[in-house]
């Protein structure tokens, strides 16, 4: 038994930073933010009148935004499945990770 440390796995889970773990968390956060910003932009273009006669979303705009977001996620899923299928066809495996695809 060593007096110098509690063993590497104990340190790992409570003390030291694993650069790969942090990097993956950062990448995931940036990806989600990017998708969010794209939806905000795209659905604004689709649903919001640029006359800006009033400061609130009107009924029609609100409903349009809800459907726009839902449809965007559907397209996201379809294209994710397509890319996954293509990756599987090309390399015998999914291009990145796999099961979390299209689920965002």
């Amino acid at each position: 038994m060593s007096i110098f440390g509690r063993g590497s796995s104990a340190v790992q889970s409570s003390g030291a930073i694993n650069p790969q773990t942090v990097e993956m968390a950062v990448t995931e956060l940036e990806m989600v933010t990017d998708v969010f910003n794209r939806i905000v932009n795209t659905c604004h273009n689709k649903c919001i009148s640029t006359r800006y006669a009033e400061p609130d979303l009107n009924k029609g705009e609100s409903v349009c935004v809800d459907r726009c977001v839902a449809k965007f996620f559907e397209v996201n899923k379809k294209i994710g499945e397509k890319l996954q299928a293509m990756g599987a066809a090309n390399s015998g495996g999914s291009p990145v990770g796999g099961s979390s695809f299209g689920g965002l």
Binding site: V26, T33, T50, Y52, D56, L57, V69, G103
Partner: protein
């Protein structure tokens, strides 16, 4: 987003990163709002002063964009929660 698998040091690192990111995202929102509302509302350059009509348009534009973003955020969060539930229940099978 689920950071519960990270250890304390990693979570502290992420918290610091997220603080920086929030500052950055806010500056981006601000600059994007100005560009967007200027582009939609200002088309008369016979004067350099903002007309009353232009100012109303800009203020409405900013209000509306923020409400729009909030609404998209609510739908986005609902979708992510659903996706996580599906993922969780597929793990239980």
């Amino acid at each position: 987003m689920d950071f519960s698998k990270l250890n304390a040091a990693e979570q502290a690192h992420m918290t610091k990163y997220i603080e920086k990111k929030q500052m950055h995202d806010f500056m981006n929102l601000y600059a994007g709002l100005v560009e967007r509302c200027f582009t939609s509302c200002c088309s008369d350059f016979t004067s350099k002063a903002l007309s009353g009509k232009e100012e109303t348009c800009v203020m409405n534009c900013a209000d509306k964009f923020l409400k729009h973003t909030e609404r998209v955020g609510a739908r986005f969060a609902e979708h992510n929660a659903e996706t996580m539930n599906e993922a969780a229940s597929s793990f239980k099978q």
